[in-house]
Amino acid sequence: MAEVAARELPESIKPPDLIQGGEDFTSITNTVARVAEYKPPKGWYIAFGIAVSVLGVLLAMLGYLFWKGVGIWGNNQPVAWGWPIVNFVFWVGIGHAGTLISAVLFLFRQQWRTSINRFAEAMTIFAVMCAGLFPAIHVGRPWLAYWLFPIPNQMRMWPNFRSPLLWDVFAVSTYATVSLLFWYMGMVPDLATLRDRATKKLPRLLYGVFALGWTGSNRAWHRFERAYLLLAALATPLVLSVHSVVSFDFAVAQLPGWHTTIFPPYFVAGAIFSGFAMVITLMVPARQFFGLKNLVTMRHLENMCKVIMATGMMVGYAYGVEFFIAWYSGNKYEGFVFINRALGNYAWAYWTMVTCNVLLPQVFWFRKMRRNLVVMFVIAAFVNVGMWFERFVITVTSTSRDFLPSSWHYFTPTLFDAVILLGSFGLFFTFFLLFCRFLPTVAMAEVKTVLPEAHPGHHHQPAEVER
């Protein structure tokens, strides 16, 4: 069916090739491997220097936090979950695009993913690292954070498995582990490429160790492909479950504005939305710096802009439905919370969120905007900001106006809140820049499979859809 349809497409509306610029197997290897083999451009050193400095600030702040305690933050009653939880949900959300691009698009045979999946997966790993940091430091005594895990301990106590907070521990740590396996396993053949090209002893040894002795044997490829498919099939429900479980942290609590059944799908859509925005934020400069324009083409970026617009409207729909349900339920506390959200003490945050997440992405209706690098970079940055504010609005507005008006309180963050959030970007970018420098940023083996000459008898029939 697909083949017939493809053959009948008139030339004018046929989608352009995924890989452009007449690249072949050799040139793909050269383009990608060169990034890891030669000294990076000067811009990389500047960026890395900044990132490491910010990471250093983060470590110093964490040291002070451990010494002094969580009182240095703005968290207090009734807003006991302040920026740390906002930042946690923010980073975990960003971490969703990687596995989504890798796994979900893989299962749907969306071959355009091959150029960006490695990049997005790496982003996932580092975003989940940042996400994991925040609950760990938010527990107050991080050296006792192992109490969260069912480890036999000196108190002979076990964690409470009926709490969504514990589900979260399992969901996020499973997500981090499976994402890491998925990322690393996909990278093994490419590490073997770097190993075989390495001319110096030490890179050859290190790439060799991590390539695990891969020879490209077809019998190994057979099992590798099956394992990759299985991991994708396992990671897809995992992606959906992780942010659903994160939303349970709120939805299972009986607080107006949190206790709603729309939260799991709403959070998942928001996660995909923010994750794709972050991929664009990173991809646009990276393809420029590292000369990957033929592999990451305008078509890839345009597709991502479409995903951003679609998920942005899903998020906007969720914002609307929340208000509808608040009115339709007839629950006056629920009603109050939402009127307060839009018109109350945090109205500025609410409307920042709506502007960034719902209104601005609408420019992607226009093809010209979807293909303009500056526009997409700016919009993606706004989406990142808007999604941070979404988590802020959810976390803070409901708690700052709780059931007892005498305890109402306007949450004000401290300098430490801000510096630790900034520092988490240092953590993220330090690892990300190291990844760009030393590892294959594009899945070479996978990109080669979408070239027409990767398929036996390719000149007789159009490229197969199957990988």
């Binding site: 197997f25 050799t26 290897t29 451990f66 010494w67 305690g69 005594r141 050296w143 069912p150 106590m157 076990w158 409470n160 498995f161 009926r162 514990l166 399992f170 969901a171 499973t174 582990t177 499976v178 396996l181 998925f182 396993m185 053949p189 073997a192 490429t193 075989d196 090209r197 040894l205 695990l212 002795g213 020879t215 490209g216 044997s217 077809n218 019998r219 190994a220 490829w221 057979h222 099992r223 590798f224 492909e225 099956r226 394992a227 299985l230 991991l231 396992l234 995992l238 479950s241 070479m444 083996a445 996978e446 080669k448 499979t449 000459e453 990767a454 398929h455 036996p456 008898g457 990988r467």
Partner: protein, 402 residues
């Protein structure tokens, strides 16, 4: 085979996918079994041409997933409902819906381990060395060339095999010797591996040791703010209030709950003339002693001990730490001793109500009737330990009411 010069096999290089697949099909049809293709990416149609059987990996993944699912439910049921049952917000100790998320995540986690480690194990990875790594041209197998290798150990292998392979459209053919000595990791790398492995074993070893030994000292706290909290304890002086006391007396004119007549003997333990009551201002019976025993166990026994001799766990631990970190522990009184025995019930009552020495007053926590019950129980306890009959016994009613 062993008498011949050591030969790993013969390697043929192909320029494109089509010729590789065609050659692989011919090699298989010729009866070879020990051969493999090496390609930079998975080539479709090659499995079919080579006759590669479907892998058993999916079954491994299914098995691991089921272990994760069952293990997840068992873990939650055993820890929360069996080994350490505790009720949270009236929820059942184990409920299926609440256990789903964790079991779900563990299913995926273990299945993923199965997929990753199962793939590596079936492929015989990780591997330090392969004879093909010594062939210079083979380095393009991970970039842009396609290779077919027939092993020398194949039963069909003959000296004519290389020539025959060349006729299948190969751009180059080369025999691969089996080196006498396989490549090994450099010595420093081996040493490093040993050191890292030994260091990694240290924490589990320390945990195991901690698990099977008793600690003689309290745990080391890096941050001491729980050990030395800024607060006032019972009967301490405080500059905050005009009377210099940290414990606050009841504000004038207020009445504690259930304390309607604050001047009665029942509420003060004193007779109208100010002397301590020597009789109990309520009916003494077995029920009152039982009530006293229960309250005593709740409020008093933590320090004074269940037998009233002041030998509780709290007191013992405090004595162990005596003098450490500036502690100055006053041991709790022996309630069965002479000093307390000489006190009339009214005075015992007053001590419970207002506290004495370092002991805080309990009038906020224990109702007057229960304070009398505790005083009565103390008397019973003392007599029981001295081998006398309890004051609540019928025969001794008179004596007890003295």
């Amino acid at each position: 085979m062993s008498a011949e010069p050591r030969l790993y096999g013969v390697l043929a290089e192909f320029e494109d996918v089509d010729s590789l697949v065609a050659a692989a099909r011919k090699v298989r049809e010729a009866g070879y079994t020990r051969f493999d293709a090496h390609t930079p990416f998975p080539v479709h149609g090659l499995d079919d041409a080579m006759g590669v059987q479907p892998t058993i990996l999916p079954w491994i993944v299914l098995l691991c997933g089921l272990i994760g699912l069952g293990g997840g439910f068992l873990l939650q049921w055993w820890t929360n409902a069996v080994d350490y049952p505790f009720v949270i917000s009236g929820k059942p100790l184990f409920g299926l819906p609440g256990a789903v998320p964790v079991a779900y995540e563990l299913t995926i986690l273990l299945a993923s381990f199965g997929a990753f480690f199962g793939m590596l194990a079936l492929n015989g990875l990780p591997k330090w060395y392969h004879p093909l790594f010594r062939v210079a041209r083979f380095s393009r197998a991970t970039s842009d060339r396609f290779y077919l290798v027939i092993q020398g150990s194949d039963p069909f292998f003959s000296p004519a095999t290389p020539e025959w392979l060349a006729s299948l459209g190969a751009s180059a053919v080369e025999t691969v010797p089996e080196p006498d000595e396989p490549d090994t990791p450099p010595r420093w790398f081996k040493g490093l591996t040993w050191i890292v492995t030994s260091l990694a074993l240290l924490p589990p070893a320390m945990i195991a040791k901690a698990r099977f030994s008793e600690m003689q000292h309290p745990r080391v706290h890096l941050v001491k703010n729980m050990d030395f909290q800024k607060k006032f304890k019972a009967q301490q002086a405080s500059p905050l209030f005009a009377d210099g006391r940290a414990m606050r007396p009841d504000p004038a004119g207020t009445v504690a709950r259930g304390d309607l007549d604050p001047t009665s003997t029942l509420a003060t333990g004193r007779n109208p003339d100010g002397s301590y009551a020597t009789a109990y201002p309520l009916a003494v019976d077995q029920a009152l002693i039982e009530r006293g025993r229960e309250r005593f166990a709740i409020y008093c026994a933590t320090c004074h001990g269940l037998d009233g001799r002041g030998d509780s766990m709290v007191a013992r631990r405090a004595l162990l730490r005596q003098g450490q970190q500036g502690t100055n522990w006053v041991p709790p009184a022996d309630l069965t001793g002479e000093a307390v025995a000489a006190q009339p019930p009214g005075r015992i009552f007053e001590t419970i109500s207002r506290g004495r020495n370092t002991m805080p007053g309990y009038s906020q926590q224990i109702r007057p009737r229960d304070r009398w019950a505790i005083a009565l129980y103390l008397e019973a306890l003392r007599q029981a330990q001295a081998g006398l009959d309890a004051p609540g016994d019928k025969d001794n009613q008179e004596e007890a009411g003295r």
